[in-house]
């Protein structure tokens, strides 16, 4: 398969995680699966790279975690958005839309 590996803008993974957790609390595996499904395999997040991002986001108070039982009755750590995380999601989403719109306009103009 001819893949083109691309580094996305800083903060993109964080935005994807915040958006994924907006609906419900999830464990790390669930978050990656949801991102892959939503992106219809156009974007692939390396599974391992999710965790340092999750831990940093928890450190910054954007998400919080608690242990619970997974769908197959195994102990798993679930993450959910905090109020700060919800506010951050709104601002990052607006920011992303602004940037995307600006870049699209520039590309269309040339």
């Amino acid at each position: 398969m001819a893949n083109e590996r691309t580094d996305l803008m800083q903060g993109t993974l964080e935005l994807l995680i915040l958006n994924t957790l907006a609906r419900e609390s999830m464990h790390g595996y669930g978050i990656v699966q949801r991102i892959h499904e939503a992106a219809e395999d156009l974007l692939k997040v390396e599974d391992g790279s999710l965790y340092p991002a999750l831990y940093r986001m928890e450190e910054r108070g954007l998400i919080k975690s608690e242990w619970g039982l997974s769908e197959n009755n195994r102990r798993a750590k679930f993450y959910k958005l905090t109020r700060t995380g919800k506010r951050k999601l709104e601002s990052e989403r607006a920011n992303w839309n602004r940037i995307a719109k600006a870049v699209t306009r520039i590309l269309q103009a040339t």
């Binding site: 083109e4 590996r5 464990h27 595996y29 156009l42 790279s49 965790y51 340092p52 450190e59 108070g61």
Partner: protein, 151 residues
């Protein structure tokens, strides 16, 4: 160089964090293995594929443990400091007959209580106020739409 108190606080949390990080990563890898097995892979192939997909397990574990410890250590230090400040304020308040010095005791108690309250409020993590200069290890593989259709 870490102070003996910081070292002691860190050691008291040393057992739990790596175990929990390990359990969390293992859950993820087991789920991947299960998915690949359900897709028809042999157990050995599923295990290898899961580990490949996850990436560098040891590096990820180490990063997560370091972040957890840093966070936990800072909070413990702040909590301990707030107790020490509150007790000092209380002692000054009780022992001092001079009104001006007693006010210093009041101020110390207020600082300790406010600090403790801030720590209890979710989202007001001290790290929030630091500039976000740390790069998230985002690694994305972008397929062309044609590639995605083929897979």
């Amino acid at each position: 160089m870490m102070t003996p108190i910081a070292n002691l606080l860190l050691r008291s949390n040393r057992g739990k964090t790596p175990f929990e990080v390990d359990e969390e990563m293992q859950f993820h890898i087991d789920m991947l293995e299960r998915k690949y097995s359900q897709q028809g892979m042999s157990i050995a192939d599923a295990k290898a594929a899961a580990l490949r997909r996850f990436g560098n397990l040891e590096v990820v574990k180490k990063q997560c443990v370091d972040i957890s410890r840093r966070n936990s250590l800072l909070r413990r230090v702040l909590k301990t400091a707030s107790v020490v400040i509150a007790l000092s304020g209380l002692l000054i308040r009780i022992l001092s007959s001079d009104l001006n010095i007693a006010h210093i005791g009041d101020t110390l108690i207020m600082i300790a209580v406010s600090g403790r309250l801030l720590l209890y409020v979710r989202g007001l993590n001290p790290w929030t106020f630091l500039p976000a200069t740390r790069q998230t290890s985002l690694s994305v593989v972008a397929n062309t739409p044609d590639d995605a259709a083929r897979t």
